[in-house]
Symmetry: C2
Subunit: 361 residues, 2 copies
């Protein structure tokens, strides 16, 4: 088991990464000062697979634990579903020292984090991400949220977990397409920060896609380290943290325009990364070779390069409404070379238009 | 205009207190680095009185301001009403630098603070409390929340405003009973922390109840100073801040048992302070003279000394369920002498029972 420290907040916290680490959840929680009652929030699918096991592990470590499963899928990230979880928390008598454990993918993690951040004005929480996407992205960094009918993740907080437990063995049950979705974020880390990780991904697509533990452990650990380093420097997303949104500006627009279902989050980000790379080249910030390298790795990992279902006219309004826009300006994360990006808020709309034409045809 | 600094969070913030300070709201917001769009959250009653005036003041200072009024009363502190405010915030295009202005009493302040704490994971907010209770208590210290069907203030955050503007002139339109409700909290500050304030209240009930500006200014400023000092030492209510709950343990139970309507918050706290004082004497922590002094000032300010509508059996479960209870233990704030309190979590239930009998007969 490897440990990545995240130095954020008062005391910071650790991400534990390894094979079959789930069995150590209770003891790790105890070692991190947690005790008493624990509400394990999960979805019906993940709960059916690992719910009983987790309750057993927590009981053995002395916790009084109960399970609450929400319906799988993005619709559970709502204030209405949150209200049902609050009811459960109240009736089982969770107090300020009790723990919320998020057992699931990004939806469960974001919802559980929002509950933990706001129940009694904040109680401890623990992330046990069960998808690659959640392991390398949403479970690290403390961004928690629910959706509003008018937009995703509009209601939330910056609220750090007490620990994150990543069990690579859980990925064995993950469908191929969800694995690829997580890999899009791993590719992103390579592009924004680490040419070595990028090159590892280029050379090792076979073991990665075959879910070989050693390969997964390497890319997950490196992704967590990169994200932790960025978040440590800018927890509240005032500047540097924005680089984590590479590919997300167009990605969010594609997701929204296709009704959050046609493309997974990672697939949308892949399309967005192609767009952001092309935009960078069009602005003379990177070479066409860099764009081709990025297109190549995305294809290598079975991720889409464009969204022919979308149109420029429909995508444009979503870009402007993106929640990272400040004063109506879009903050574009653009690439200089593999491992190095920059932020620009003065990209001419004409150029953006051309790129959107490209990725939607 | 006087200024009380609250050294909490990254930069701290100021409470501005004076007569007719409302006119300076826009310029003070500007001086505190705020700019752009502002959503003024109020209730229908306060909005009718001061809404247009505040929009004018903000427009003059360069803000693009809009008003949103929720129905008056505690029922507006719900996730459902919060959702309507989020919709307004989204459709008017508030971004991360925009401001939420709370114009109203505790309900509006708590709701607005919850919105500000969670919209886009937190945007700036400003408190303009219009009741005495909000001016001396809820607007200071950053506790924001909405209610859940199963209990009050169970969903919220610790989230500090960028500034608090107290205009004493606004209290001239405040009904007598609401004034008394706020005065209960002022009396509390005297008991927990400041014998001088207590003695000022004893000697000046006439000018205070007549709303003489000088008297109001004095007790409001002193109350804010005391609360600020406590909050600075313990923002998240781990220990010291609990002393602010003097009178609130029984007070909350009385409020809940009588359906949040029969007694105002301040009236319930007054009853709770009588109960807590009697409990302190029963435990040998203070003299009967101290209890009498407290009963006397509460009567002097037209506040109730007991709740004959309640019964011990009904109050008891509310005490245990209070959100400050940790591991099922009630943290009692008890009085040693005027200006000095202590916290005890091992009060025998029998003694509590006796005191509840006393205040309900």
């Amino acid at each position: 088991m490897e440990e990545v420290k995240v130095k954020v907040g008062q005391d910071g916290y650790s991400i534990y990464i390894g094979q079959h680490t789930l069995a150590q959840l209770g003891s790790l929680m105890g070692r991190n000062g947690l005790t008493g009652k624990a509400l394990v929030l999960t979805d019906a699918q993940v709960g059916a697979l690992y719910g009983e096991q987790v309750l057993g592990i927590l009981a053995e470590a002395g916790f009084t634990a109960e399970l609450f499963a929400v319906p799988p899928g993005e619709d559970s990230k709502s204030l209405a579903v949150a209200e049902t979880v609050f009811s459960k928390a109240i009736t089982m008598g969770l107090d300020r020292k009790s723990v919320i454990v998020a057992l699931g993918g990004g939806v469960v993690g974001d919802l559980a984090g929002f509950i933990a951040a706001t129940y009694l004005r904040g109680i401890p929480f623990v992330q046990v991400p069960t998808t690659l996407l959640a392991q390398v992205d949403s479970s690290v960094g403390g961004k928690v949220a629910v959706n509003h009918a008018l937009g995703k993740n509009l209601i939330g907080a910056f609220y750090q977990p007490r620990l994150v437990l990543i069990d690579i063995a859980l990925l064995q049950s993950l469908p191929e397409r969800e694995l690829a979705s997580g890999l899009a974020e791993v590719i992103k880390y390579g592009i924004i920060e680490d040419a070595d990780l990028f090159s590892y991904l280029q050379k090792n697509s076979r073991p990665v896609l075959a879910k070989e533990p050693e390969a997964l452990q390497h890319i997950i650990k490196r992704s967590c380290e990169i994200k932790a380093a960025v978040v440590e420097q800018d927890e509240k997303e005032n500047s540097l943290r924005m680089i984590l949104n590479f590919g997300h500006t167009i990605g969010h627009a594609v997701e929204a325009d296709t009704g959050f279902g046609l493309y997974s989050h990672g697939e949308s980000v892949a399309i967005g990364m192609v767009g952001a790379a092309s935009l960078s080249a069009a602005l003379g910030l990177c070479s066409q070779e860099t764009v081709d390298t990025i297109r190549c790795i995305i294809a290598q990992y079975n991720l889409p390069l464009g969204a022919p279902e979308c149109t420029t006219d429909r995508l444009m309004p979503f870009l402007v409404r993106d929640k990272k826009a400040v004063g109506g300006k879009i903050h574009w994360v653009l690439v200089r070379s593999i491992g190095s990006v920059l932020i620009k808020d003065d990209v001419p709309p004409m150029t953006v238009d051309e790129i959107l034409q490209e990725i939607t045809c």
